[in-house]
Amino acid sequence: MNSYLMKTLALGLFLIACTFSNAASFEQGKPKIQSIDVISFQPEGILLIGDGKAGQVVLIDTKDREPQKWTASVVDLKGKIAERLGVAAKEIELIHFAVNPVSGKAYLAIRKQDTKSQHLITVDGQGKISEFSLDNVAFKSVALPKGSGGAISKITDLAWMSDRLLVSGVAADEFACKLYSVQQPLEKQSEVILTSAETFHVAHGKWETKAPMTVLMPFEENGKKYLVGAFSCTPLVKYPLEAFTENAKVKGQSILELGSGNKPIHMFTYQKDGKSYVLINTFRFHHQKKPFGPSPYWTARIDTGVISENANINEKALKRLDSKGEPGSEKVKLIPEFHGVSHMDKLDAAHALVISEDDKGALTLKALTLP
């Protein structure tokens, strides 16, 4: 048996095992979802929906496990989806995006404005656009406890950490960092730990707990697991996963300051030519004042050595821009090929699937080679 077949067989057995381990507690029907804030996937193709208004994460077995090759580039993506929903492009808004790691199919959370309805849309490797109906699916939901203070209004991100799910949320009326940890297996009655994370904000040199995380990413090195969180003002911070226990205040290490005027959107790790990197895209709301490229959406590649750093942290953390506002290190590199990318996710070992936005707001979905 050649190595390709061996790998395929191993992957198949892994997926079957994962499917069976999860299948027992899924129920069939229509999940009650109030808002789709973010979407993400477990490695075996289980879709995770962050529903802040209902204070829950809904897991959906998509049954979508047929790997496919990406040959499509879908221009006017928004217009094409809107047409299928029976409205004009301006009548819908893209909320979030994720790629099923098993099939490679793109999943988009879309809001249809006139009916205030939300829709899950898929695009396959040939560019075929379909609706993923939630009317009759295998699902289960995990409730997020309110904890002290107010309930969350919106989930900002989800990250599957191989043994647990991490969820970050924000509240409407208070400035708070609410971070939930749910140990696997994820079930309706799963114990959910609510923690607060202490973060050293490089920019203003103070420890503080209150800033909410906007993007979460799992990270592993030397057998130890970490959460890497990105904030709006805009450090990357690393937290040891083992520290997330009930009522704990988890202290993180700031490892990189991306610079002010940016809002991180997505990030993931990958390897290329024997080196490890993180790819992160952000929205620059200071684009008019000081652009980093032709679009307010810009992407940077970060050497994972920056994430591994344990000495130059907090006050000494690396800054992407030096005091003159110029790039301060080769370890954090702007990627021109990704200018305009408003949403992205890892497609395979060598590619990202991205949605780029032009200056008129038109969207294009395409695969790009990882830099």
Partner: protein, 362 residues
């Protein structure tokens, strides 16, 4: 074309004989009786979209281009000898849809138009918190209350302006996270905290959004869209006179309680020396009676959010009551009873947590 399109009666303009209303239909159905020779006729129940679309498709008609859009999302099934298409959601008001046969040479077309909603009262801005004109320069947020549901959109952060004393818009003042209540009638609009916190490079580079001693205008344009896609009845402007920044923990001992008298339903009142966040206060504060039970009643925040009143459902009784104040009660700058908004956790004083304010009913 022998095709029947059915939908909620209230939304239908019938074009006889092809379109007929169907009472109590949850969505839209397009129905085509199948010929006896059709292979689909032998089937019952669900039909694949490929098979269904090989007979007819339904799409949005673009009045400007005269073209019919790609097939709508939905499902096909065979019922009572007819091929039925069920749209995945109700059709949109004011739009024209067309059904086209794809299995005939002539590609016959049927169309129907969903009437636009009758003109309703346009949504307006009811209130903006804080209601006072005078507020600390490190104000954290506005809460905008609308008379009806609004349309969520990230474009609000560019549409709502803060205009400075020089008549120019303040650059990028908002934290770009949409926070609406459940029915989209209340928007919590935060300043970007990086512009408010001391020493943050965003503030260092752009300056704070509000400076003490200066006057600004919050401008909510009429171009904001309500849930139906209509503009507001009119724009809304609010004057802001920025005062000194406040960066200290709230001291509840500065609050002045006016206790009610026994056997009355008079209001319990608290006067604050500063403006209180009304939504956090409503969530975090309860009144507890002499027996330890929570007192049921009606609470309201009064003039400029500096007075709180509580009227019980049942008369006050003789004894010692207390007001339980949750740790998140805050002023306009995010300072709570447990900590100031900005903290250095390495030198932070111990948190005060929940506090109780006693009062006697005599």
């Amino acid at each position: 074309m022998n095709m029947i399109i059915t939908m909620m009666a209230a939304l239908l303009i019938a074009v006889p004989p092809l379109f007929q209303p169907l009472d109590n239909s949850p969505g839209v159905e397009v129905r085509l009786p199948l010929d006896a020779s059709s292979p689909l006729k032998k089937k019952g129940g669900p039909v694949s979209n490929d098979d269904g679309e090989s007979v007819f498709v339904v799409g949005l008609f673009n009045d400007e281009t005269g073209k019919i859009g790609a097939p709508l999302f939905g499902k096909y099934l065979v019922r009572d000898g007819a091929l039925v298409f069920i749209s995945s959601q109700p059709f949109s008001l004011g739009k024209t849809y067309k059904a086209i046969r794809t299995d005939t040479k002539d590609k016959e077309v049927s169309q129907f138009k969903v009437p636009a909603l009758k003109a309703q009262d346009a949504v307006r801005v009811v209130k903006v918190y804080p209601t006072t004109d005078r507020m600390p320069a490190n104000l954290l947020k506005f809460t905008i209350v609308f008379s009806g549901p609004m349309r969520q959109s990230k474009t609000i952060f560019d549409a709502i302006e803060l205009v400075g004393p020089d008549g120019k818009s303040v650059d990028d003042p908002w934290r770009r996270t949409e926070l609406w209540n459940d029915n989209d009638t209340r928007l919590t609009l935060w300043f970007h905290p990086g512009r408010v916190k001391l020493g943050v490079n965003l503030r260092e580079q752009l300056g704070p959004p509000l400076e003490p001693g200066k006057t600004y205008t919050l401008k909510i344009p009429s171009e904001l869209l309500d849930a139906s896609g209509n503009k507001l009845a009119q724009g809304f402007e609010k004057k802001i006179i920025a005062g000194a920044e406040v960066r200290t923990r709230l001291d509840v001992n500065q609050w002045k309680i006016t206790p009610p008298i026994k056997q009355s339903k008079a209001a319990l009142a608290i006067n604050f020396p500063y403006v209180i966040d009304p939504y956090l206060f409503a969530r975090e504060v309860i009144v507890v009676g002499p027996t330890g039970k929570t007192i049921v009643g009606k609470a309201s925040m009064g003039l400029e959010e500096k007075v709180w009143q509580f009227v019980p459902d049942e008369a006050w009784q003789l004894g010692e009551y207390f007001i339980r104040i949750g740790s998140e009660v805050a002023d306009l700058a995010g300072n709570t009873i447990s900590r100031p908004f900005e903290v250095n956790l390495e030198t932070l004083e111990p948190l005060a947590g929940v506090q109780k304010l006693k009062f006697l009913v005599k």
